[in-house]
Structure formats: C-alpha cells, structure tokens
C-alpha cells in the first residue's frame, strides 16, 4: 500500500450499508462490475407502524447483515477468503446501524487480513455516477454537481474530485423526502408517503391551492421545506381544497424550488459537466422533469442513476471503497463511526 501508487486491486471488494433503514451488502469486481448485491428493506416492517422504526433498526441490522453478506458472496460464487478489501458505511447516519456495519466490516477485514475502508455515505452517493456502465451517457467528468434529495439528506454538492467536495447548499430545516412523507401523513396517506403522494397529485390541479415556494429566487443553493409543510397542514385543516389538489400543489412547489436551486448551483459552478440526481425523491417524475428542464437550458445532462442505486444500497459503498483503494486510501481499525460526517471533512487522493 502507499498513497502514491494505491492498491493493486485484483480481488473483489465487499460493500456494507447499514446507516439507516436498509441493510445491504454487495460485492464488486476490482473494475467495478457488480458481481452480486442484496438489499433487505425494512420498509415492509415499518409500513405496519406507519413509518415508525421498531427498535431503531440497529437490532434488525445486527440480525440481518452477517447472513446477507454471506448470501451475497455465495451468489457471486465467493467466500470471505476470496475478498481483496472490505468497505463499510461509517457515517453519517444512525449510530446503532453504523456501529453494526462498521464492526462487522472490520471483523471480516481483521479475520482475513484485508484492508478496510470507512466509507462516507454521502461520498458513496456522490461517486455512484462514476460506476462503470451505470449511466448510458457514461460517467461524468469532474467537476459535476450532485443534488442529493432523500428522506434524511437534502443538499447540493460540487463534486470536484475524489474526496474533494464543496457543499453549495443544504436544507435549513426539513429534508425534501421528509417533507414528502410528512405532507403525505397530513393527508392521511400510507407510508412511505412519496409514491402515494405522487399518485394522488396526478389527479389534482397544482394551481388550485396557493402554497409557498420557500427560498425561490433567493441567492445561493439552500433549501427550506418546513414552511411548506406547515402550509400543507393549514390547507388540510381548512378542509376546502381536495387532498389531490393539495398534493399536486405541494409537488409543483417542491419541483419548482428544486429546479430553482439547481439553476443557481449550475451558475455557481459553470464548469460542471452535468447534474447527478440521487436519493428517493429522484424517483418523482415532476421533480425529474423540472430538473431535466434546468439542465437542458444550461446545456448539461441531468444524470439519474437507476433508482435502486440512488437510494441506499451497498453497491455504491463498495464502489466508493474501490475508488479510495485505487487512490491508496484505507482506514485504521480504530476509525469510529460518525453520526455526523460532513463531506467537507473528507480528504482524497
């Protein structure tokens, strides 16, 4: 090993993800080919409770992860002894799940004398677009923009290189996926709220209910969705508008705000080669259309990885591990999981 040359990777890399609700494992060839992957969603379990986290998922990760990793390896025709390295999400996220994933990953690494990479979950999202063969347009060149829009994250980042990220803006209050979930809950829709709200919005008139478009037109790239949520609560309580109209207006407002923020981000980084959209909210067609419009005007592609690779998954973790290993970057076994771990704190090769 050594920072100058990087690892001569000739064996597969195991990736582990357990930072929030999903337990995931994946094994990638050194060139980034996906050999096998698995995601155990706890969504089904949660739906029973209406979006509630029984036992905060840490125990569920602990029960699920070792078996899942073994099954994924077996599907690739491999055992732990065939691996070249282990990469595990070590933050940001829920501390219980992070500890489970990081400790299991370190355990495998120690037992088989392998290098370990403590992967930043946000960096993994940021680098997903570089996974060979993932995007029909090909991987974007640095620098590109990442718009991460999920239940727990809402930020816009200039991806300037491995380990080199500049946060252009982030939410001042609620994440956008959280706003979707809470707006849906206010309208009595089942969890997860996003897809249900989108279906309801298709039957509504986005002009029928005036809802705020927070920070629209303001300089910079920050987001705010708390006021919009309160406005939805008010409209629902008032009872005069149909839920379909409120849903349509909410979705239109979110799409307009995200498009406005993306436009600013593209102005802040004129050399950006494209805008990558990741996170569960990237599945929303109105949001996608609005972002594609902004990208089109700026003359850059909007790149949306297939949904299963832009929501939480372990393929992105293994890939981030490979990128770091290639740059000679590994972590020590005393690396502690970090619930808060801003991208700006990372360093690269």
């Amino acid at each position: 090993m050594g920072a100058e040359g990087g690892f001569d990777l000739d064996r597969p890399v195991l990736g582990l993800e357990s930072s929030c609700d999903e337990t995931a494992a994946a094994v990638l060839a050194p060139d980034g080919r996906i050999l096998a992957e698995g995601v155990l969603s706890q969504e089904k379990e949660h739906a029973v409770f209406g979006g509630v986290v029984p036992e905060i998922a840490a125990r569920a990760h602990l029960e699920a992860l070792p078996g899942l990793a073994e099954r994924v390896l077996r599907r690739a025709g491999l055992g732990f002894g065939d691996l070249g390295a282990v990469a595990a999400t070590s933050g940001p996220g829920l501390i219980g799940g992070l500890i489970v994933g990081a400790c299991f990953g370190k355990g495998v690494a120690i037992a088989h004398d392998l290098p370990f990479v403590a992967v930043n979950h946000l960096e993994a999202h940021a680098l997903t677009a570089r996974l060979p063969g993932l995007l029909p347009q090909g991987a974007p060149a640095f620098p590109y923009l990442l718009l991460l829009v999920s239940g727990g994250h809402c930020q816009c980042v200039a991806v300037e290189g491995l380990g080199r990220y500049r946060r252009l803006g982030s939410t001042l209050d609620d994440a956008v996926g959280e706003a979707f979930d809470k707006a849906a809950k206010l309208m009595g829709l089942p969890w997860p709220g996003g897809p249900h709200l989108e279906r309801l919005a298709a039957e509504g008139d986005p002009q029928a209910v005036p809802l705020p478009r927070p920070l629209l037109g303001r300089p910079g790239c920050d987001f705010s969705f708390s006021g919009l949520k309160t406005a939805v609560a008010r409209a629902v309580a008032q009872g005069s508008a149909s839920h379909a109209d409120i849903a349509a207006a909410f979705q239109a407002s979110v799409a307009a705000v995200l498009a406005d923020r993306a436009r600013h981000a593209l102005e802040m980084v004129p050399e950006a080669t494209g805008i990558v959209v990741a996170g569960g909210v990237a599945a929303n067609q109105a949001v996608r259309a609005a972002l594609a419009g902004v990208a089109g005007i700026a003359g850059v592609p909007m790149l949306a990885p297939p949904l299963r690779y832009c929501t939480d998954n372990a393929v992105m973790v293994a890939w981030a591990g490979i990128e770091r290993l290639r740059a000679g970057l590994t972590d020590r076994m005393d690396h502690s999981p970090r619930p808060r771990w801003p991208l700006a704190d990372l360093t690269g090769g």
Binding site: E55, L94, G152, D173, D174, T230, A233, R340
Partner: protein
C-alpha cells in the same frame, strides 16, 4: 399539579423571543418537551432555542426526524435535540443514548413516545397553530420556579 402559563405568539419574532428567554434559563439536566401536531412549529422553536443558546444565529439545526437525535456543544454544556416521531415507544431510547443525554440538556419533539421515561421536572411546551400564518398559541407547564421568567 405543575403551574401552567398560556401565551399567544402573534408572529415568528414573538416565537424567537420566547426561544431566547428559554435559552437563557437552560442548564444541564433540563428536559424541554415540545408537543403539538405536524407543522405546529416544534422544530422551529427548538432551532431558535439552540441558536440562541449557542449565541450563533446561523447555527445549522437540521430536522432530527431522520437521524432521531442531533447533538450540539453549547456554552451551557451538551444539548441533544430528539425527534421521537419515528419511534413507537420508549424501548429504543437506550440505543439513542437517552440516559447519557439526560446529563445535559434535552429538547424532545413527540415526547408522547417517552412513556414512563418522561422526565420529572421537565418543561412541557405545547404549540397550537392559530388562524394567522405565523401565529401560535403556546402553553408552558412545569419549571415552577423559572416559569415566571420564561413567560415574561
């Protein structure tokens, strides 16, 4: 029976003024429980309290809904902003470091989920939206000896 004070907060600046008074009175071991429906302004109030207590109006205070807890180092000691919305009961609290957090300051949204863990001597703040957009009705209960200064 703890004393209760009711206030009308006509706008956001009144909410922020209440937050500033609350921030000045906070000390280690305090629990502030924030009640009210979705969109009532619980996070807004918690954010204003944390910013005032930190003396930093630009302090980043993201919603803790997803992470369940966010921690801050304040001049008055460590503070923890919990959102128990996604919990179905107090069983998961230990995993969130509840006992350790109680040594510092805790601000708790959706405290209904605390069950038997609901701290004695807590200040309960109940927010209710009023007709005007930023207006809130707030009831403050508990904190008998400090309630006067808080309501002033």
């Amino acid at each position: 029976m703890p004393r209760t004070v009711a206030l009308d907060l006509p706008d956001l600046s009144a909410t922020h003024a209440l937050a500033a008074r609350l921030a000045r009175l906070l000390r280690a071991g305090d629990a502030v429980l924030l009640e009210g429906p979705l969109g009532a302004g619980k996070s807004e109030l918690a954010r204003a309290v944390l910013r005032a207590a930190a003396g930093d109006p630009a302090l980043e205070v993201p919603s803790p809904t997803f992470t369940l807890v966010q921690s801050y180092d304040l001049p008055a000691g460590p503070a923890h902003h919990f959102d128990l919305y996604r919990l179905d009961g107090p069983e998961g609290l230990a995993e969130l470091g509840w006992e350790e957090a109680r040594e510092g300051i805790v601000l708790v949204e959706w405290p209904e989920r605390l069950g038997n863990e609901r701290p004695e001597g807590a200040l309960t703040v109940t927010l209710k939206p009023l007709a005007a957009e930023e207006a809130r009705h707030v009831t403050l209960s508990g904190w008998d000896e400090r309630l006067g200064a808080l309501a002033a």
